[in-house]
Amino acid sequence: GDSVTQTEGLVTLTKGLPVMLNCTYQTTYSPFLFWYVQHLNEAPKLLLKSSTDNKRTEHQGFYATLHKSSSSFHLQKSSVQLSDSALYFCALSDRMGYKLTFGTGTSLLVDP
């Protein structure tokens, strides 16, 4: 079946540094990948999404590139801010289109 792997459970960084959160996936069909962000006590919200191979997708300073050759969709930002502290989920849409398979999430903690 489909699966999404996020290898880091917790990432702690100092404000202003770059970050990369890892996401790899397994599927037998053409993938559609998402990043959702969940701030403390809030609802998860879509950050960005893509199905186009080797094309960079950007939103709110975050960016990711889907690489089908390596089954990866890593999330990056060049300079993290305190407000970026949150839980980040990578997700894969199934071939039916409606069911998302989520990774276990990566908590990003940004220190002053």
């Binding site: 559609f32 959702y36 006590n41 809030e42 609802a43 998860p44 919200k45 879509l46 999404k49 199905s51 989920f89 997700a91 849409s93 071939r95 039916m96 289109g97 409606y98 069911k99 998302l100 398979t101 989520f102 990774g103 276990t104 999430g105």
Partner: protein
């Protein structure tokens, strides 16, 4: 637009009691989803309705969990005879049609269920 509304925000039940969780999707959205969130498993799909009809309940524990959508403005998730392992945050989400692979899910803030 108030977004997806879930009530209650927190619920504490004793082992063996029943818990009913409520969800009001975004007006005009025809698809409603339920997910369960735990630290260990992350977000797990439970069930999905489109135009109020149950489409996929493959993630639902069969014996004690049930979900309904009696009208387009609300859905309920009922857990009978709650067990400590049911403790989790239950998230409801809606989307405009539920049939497109690229469609965005709009989540509620969730109900945190604690079973003592």
């Amino acid at each position: 637009n108030a977004g997806v509304i879930q009530t209650p925000r927190h619920k504490v039940t004793g082992k063996g009691q029943e818990a009913t969780l409520w969800c009001e999707p975004i007006s005009g959205h025809s698809a409603v989803f339920w997910y369960r969130q735990t630290i260990v498993q992350g977000l797990e799909f439970l069930t999905y309705f489109r135009n109020q009809a149950p489409i996929d309940d493959s993630g639902m524990p069969k014996e004690r969990f049930s979900a309904q959508m009696p009208n387009q403005s609300h859905s309920t998730l009922k857990i009978q005879s709650t067990q400590p392992q049911d403790s989790a945050v239950y998230l409801c989400a809606s989307s405009s049609s539920g049939g497109a692979q690229a469609e965005t899910l709009y989540f509620g803030s969730g109900t945190r269920l604690t079973v003592l």
